[in-house]
Symmetry: C2
Subunit: 315 residues, 2 copies
């Protein structure tokens, strides 16, 4: 059983239309509404792979209610903790003619200290019998920057490995607790470290405490710095589609690899294949299973020189 | 008790942001979610005036559930009939810097013949003890063009006057049933009759069966053609704000005037004042009560020559 955590869950709306005309009335041709947020996407991918999953986090208001209904319909075990604030919505407006997507991000709830204390109690109770915990996404307003540190500490007390997918202050504050894996994308890696070279930046995160760093480089695949070596893993060709949720699919595969103690090249192969198969599916949290199976034999994994493995990446 | 009917109800979302950048991620600064659709707006205005009101129509899915929750919070009696389709959402994206609003209109549900039959039964049951019925807005897919005709016929069988606010085929098909009042806006009047002159167009609707026609002319106020005479009613000055729902406020006032058998100039004065007070309020269905009271003494009502009152407006 893998436990995924989404502290800033979202209800994702997608509106498709022929052509978005700003300032005018636009007829929407298709609508989708889905439980979202990175941890929810990870849970959905794990569930799609047939792996037992439970998801927790904070939800409130009508959007929170709609999110829970959607999780129930998807058959994903729901251990979300209610809050009084209103779960944020994201609205994706897909302009079919322009091939462009306009995204609206609601501000989301403010979480109280009492609500956070209730969440910690629930989280602690869920850790028994869990094989790994995945902590994903931004923190809602009101939570301290060291929230993920607190969760990793609780997980360690239960002997449960922690995978962390966030950026900026919440990422940096959590590194001293030695998360087993952090997975920034290339932009988050640069903005969190102030370092533009991905290998140098990833090495910094390891120096600061992360046991392994896997950075997603978009269509260029993954870069991994671990205590067993460093690798680049690339898909055979770029995949067209919706990149939202591709990183979450990579996290799902990497977490399964961690739980199953697979060799790193295997984990990275699965992560690149699943990530590309997620791009090919229209909605975040979904993946194309045929493409996943086909890509598993075609991902190229290349070991990097040992300079990247040490504490200091410079020769 | 006034009964309002919204066959194509909506859940209205409003997203405010500093500047809408199409094709990019936009942070929303404020969010509102409200039960909507023209008949719901009319009910909200009547409720705001302290008049007993009950609202019916068709609702389904999660948006329908959210709509009903909002009605309950507003204290508006809910006799909505459930359908399996999903109630449409409207999304208004308010660009504060540009002062422009982009609107997304979801397609809305398809109503089955069985659902329509269930609605007719409920509507018939609600008519006992009702002083007037207000029929507002477009028809959802699946309903016949003569749906409003059927409702007006049922209302007449109970001796209940009917006010109709729709356009195009559903309006034209209902005129032979002699609705007591129809209230198109100037664009709907032109598109429904193919006649650009409002007086000529309104006279056509009377010839086709409407007992009275009140056309809303936006900031220019109202034009009324009735069996007691014809009038123009104008606000003292244009009001800045949100024109959505201004027509619904006019319908609320005109229906109260009908129920109270007020003289037409009084009805029109109240309708223009309430409509302008609705423009001054940020959300459809709301109005500024101070402005309403102030404008009641300042609306100018002018009788038109009797040429407009006959069946043929041409001399």
């Amino acid at each position: 059983m893998i436990l995924t955590v989404t502290l800033n869950a979202a209800l994702d709306l997608t509106h498709r239309l022929d052509r978005l005309r700003p300032g005018a009335s636009n007829r929407v041709t298709a609508v989708a509404e889905r439980a979202g947020g990175k941890g929810v996407n990870v849970a959905r991918v794990l569930h799609g792979l047939g792996h037992p999953t439970v998801t927790t986090g904070l939800v409130g208001g009508r959007s929170g209610q709609a999110l829970r209904l959607d999780l129930a319909e998807a058959g994903i075990a729901d251990e979300l903790v209610p809050i009084t604030g209103e779960t944020r919505r994201t609205v994706a407006i897909v302009d079919e003619q322009a091939g462009a997507t306009t995204i609206l991000l609601e501000p989301g709830p403010v979480v109280t200290a009492t609500e956070w204390a209730c969440f910690l109690t629930r989280f602690d109770g869920l850790l028994a019998g869990v094989s790994a915990v995945v902590l994903s996404g931004s923190l809602p307003r009101g939570l301290p920057a060291d929230s993920y540190s607190q969760l990793i500490r609780l997980a360690r007390a239960h002997g449960v490995p922690a995978v962390l997918d966030t950026e900026g202050e919440p990422l940096l504050a959590a590194l001293p607790e030695h998360p087993d894996l952090v997975k920034p994308n290339v932009d988050e890696l640069a903005s969190s470290t102030g370092e533009s070279d991905p290998i140098t930046a990833a090495a910094r995160l390891r120096t600061a405490g992360a046991r392994a760093v896997v950075a997603s480089l978009g269509p260029d695949g993954l870069l991994a710095l671990t205590d067993r070596g460093a690798w680049r893993a690339r898909p055979p060709a770029p995949v067209r589609g919706n990149p939202t949720g591709a990183g979450d699919a990579a996290v799902a595969a990497l977490t399964l690899g961690l739980v199953n103690r697979e060799p790193w090249p295997t984990r990275l192969t699965e992560a690149v294949a699943l990530s590309a198969a997620a791009v090919a599916a229209p909605l975040a949290g979904s993946f194309d299973p045929q493409m996943y199976a086909r890509l598993l034999t075609r991902v190229r994994v290349e070991a990097l020189t040992d300079m990247a493995e040490g504490e200091n990446p410079c020769p």
